[in-house]
Amino acid sequence: MEKIQYDYPATRSVAQRVHVGVVGSGDLEVLLEPSADARTHVVVNTSVDGFEATWKNVLDRFFARFDGAVSIEINDFGATPGTVMLRLAQAAEGLRA
């Protein structure tokens, strides 16, 4: 099990909390809530060790387009990068709902 942390700049404040997904085989849970400062903080808890570079690629790509100031906790149970992207997009969509 590994814990990985990232920070990203953000420009837009966010008011809601969103929870999506499940810590099930090949899936992940995303908890998204407003961050206390004007930055985005990501904590990844993953059951699969050694994929730090892949996580960075996936999150860099997502936060190139998403500018909300949020704290995100990801609890991962071996999701593929595609599934991670879908869950992040689903959480972002939940903000608009």
Partner: protein
Amino acid sequence: MNTDAAAQAGYRRFLERRSFIEMNARERVRAVLDPGTYREMLGPFDRIKSPWLPLQGIVAQADDGVVLARGTLQAKPALIAAIESAYQGGSMGEVSGAKIAGALELALEDCEQGRLIFPVLLFETGGVRLQEANLGLAAIAEIHAAIIALRRYVPVVGVIAGMVGCFGGMSLAAALCTHLIVTPQARLGMNGPEVIEQEAGIEELDAADRGLIWSLIGGERRYAEGFADDLLEDDADAIAAAIRKAVSADPASAAKPRSMQVERYIEMLRKLGPTP
């Protein structure tokens, strides 16, 4: 109606049906409660999660796999507890078990003071979480005690929809419910087929033989044996309606709880003629 039209109608009904099995625990609770009344307690953002799984290298889920919500069922105050089967097989750990037991105990306090709360349990569980062993078992025992105490005041309604089913100590919790609803996809038993195969050998039971497994412990079988009160198709609206009906049942006309019908089950065992 000719056969084609009948097939068409059946097909349409199937498409229009909202599958309960395909819903996650949170969606199931929302599907059961009166619209707009869902209020979750100890939700994922409270982060009351297992302290034991990370010590064993397993990622913990923020709600420990149990969704607790208050709301209403036809305007009656209700407490729904749903187990998320996709997380650790819906297993009962210290926290997930305590969430259910604690919520039932609070509902009991309200009932004792004349404020009736109607509890509904949406089972989908392999039983105790082996990584948390005795702590999970202790919580399950508390759930049993709370169900027995509560059913003196209100019907305690259980649902096993599938596809995990309900096993181990939680199968006893299901058996203690006043009213148990199953689908044909449900399974109810003490030891799961994989456990039996592993312990007794594949000659005793082939866990991959789905037809055999469901013929032994499947929803239709359990309903026919009298271990469940309703056998329903996998239809969220039908299940929600059956829960409402069970909750509204007149307590005076309720049958003796299954767990007190000792003679009935001894007679059933006698007919089966098990050899020690």
